[in-house]
Point group: C2
Chain length 236, copies 2
DNA sequence: TGCTCATTTTATGTCGACAAATAAAATACA
DNA sequence: TGTATTTTATTTGTCGACATAAAATGAGCA
């Protein structure tokens, strides 16, 4: 992948400018190519993406709505940094969303939802088999996003997507301490979840989702704790 | 209250323009002064609020992030209309948020949270005693928002606020069929909730919040059903 | 009269520029 | 040398204008 986004100097359809900027920035933020806390220079960005400041600003406002950037009045907007103080709130919320979306998917899914979910699961399994940790994070997100779509509740879905993105950033941040032994266990759990959804077993779906979420939360916690110990030992 | 917003032709501090426009539009949308589905003319708005189109657009983007307006590409942005198809999803989500925020408030509230909550409850009781239905809706929102703030989970809080606002619009929409006998019952339930939070009784808080939410959902459902019958009879 | 296509019109998306506010630098002073 | 104050510079917030896309209008024709 080239590090510079694909662009042709002044050829872009009307109306796609903002979307383009939004997508580029969003991707760079989630992939930590833009570090948390780093300031965003509007002029520099407008030059890099060869557009005026107006689409940049609009994209930034949207990203601020997503919580991905923070706008300081009259000062630079910065990439929202990951606060380790509210970790508990994050884990609590994402666990609940895992459960609720899976439950509702078992209840509300329609005929063509399952193929979509299975397709995401196939990509996930492929990433795990290929020992592609970053790919696993992304495909895991897509898998659960597909389930959330089948749950047919846009309120839960939007919060869940936001939390999954936040989790993706966190995972990337602490990726260095990943042991790289990607657990086949997650693949199995995903399969069980699919089966429960297909059987429309709401209670089982809930229990599986809860266990799955606890798994992920525990591993993430361990990752962060390990990294923190390294930080501390480096500080001293 | 004057129907035109307070403004002085060209005197406004730098940076407050967007916030001002955002607040005015938000209030007008939530109070149904701007009807759901009605288009928003940027030029007309810029003249009415005596500002340029740029702050208007930025405010509209923010409102779109809140789900209060919907932007149709290359076409007018319209006030998001209340879809009665997803009512089930709405009630499901708001009930869960009532429960979760109350639970967590019981668990996480600090010393100065309760006075704030009690202040909102006093306003609520006053609105109920004064048979001020619209005031009751607004103060009820603020009461539960205060509880959500004490719950110390920004993810739940933001979703809950969004749902409460959406509910406020729905209530206003069907206000005509309100019986105007404002139930003292809600005041009592609020008092019980406060007591449970203060006692840090998580299970009781959850049960009370659930019952309270069911009350509100049931009444709202009845209101809508009654109004719908009227609609149907008018159509025939 | 009714339908299709060209034209006009209206409103949005984007642009470059100016003004104000904050940060940075430079100067004055103790 | 260190601190306070003025000056400069950088960056954001706002503005008016132009370009373009979709809707509204009107002309042409069957």
């Amino acid at each position: 992948m080239p590090t510079t986004p694909p662009r042709k100097p002044t050829e872009r359809k009307r109306g796609s400018g903002v979307q383009f900027v939004y997508n580029v920035l969003r991707d760079e933020i989630l992939s930590l190519k833009l570090a948390p806390g780093s300031p965003i220079d509007e002029v520099q960005l407008s030059q890099r993406l060869s557009t005026s400041r107006t689409p940049i600003r609009e994209a930034l406002v949207r990203l601020a709505g997503d919580g991905l950037v923070t706008t300081l009045p009259n000062r630079s907007t910065v990439v929202t940094n990951i606060d380790l103080l509210n970790l508990h709130a994050f884990f609590d919320a994402i666990t609940l969303m895992y459960r609720v979306t899976t439950r509702l998917a078992a209840q509300n899914h329609r005929a063509d939802d399952l193929p979509a979910i299975r397709a995401r699961q196939a990509e996930f399994a492929q990433a795990v088999n290929g020992q592609d940790a970053l790919g696993m994070i992304a495909t895991n997100r897509d898998f659960h996003a597909a389930i959330a779509a089948a749950a047919r509740n846009p309120y839960y879905e939007s919060l869940f997507l936001r939390l999954l993105d936040e989790g993706r950033r966190m995972m990337r941040l602490y990726y260095s301490s990943f042991n790289d032994k990607l657990p086949q266990r997650y693949v199995v759990e995903h399969e069980e979840i699919i089966a429960a959804i297909e059987a429309r077993d709401i209670d089982l779906s809930d229990r599986l989702a809860r266990a799955h979420a606890d798994q992920i939360v525990t591993q993430t916690r361990n990752m962060i704790a390990a990294e923190r110990r390294v930080d501390i030992s480096l500080e001293i």
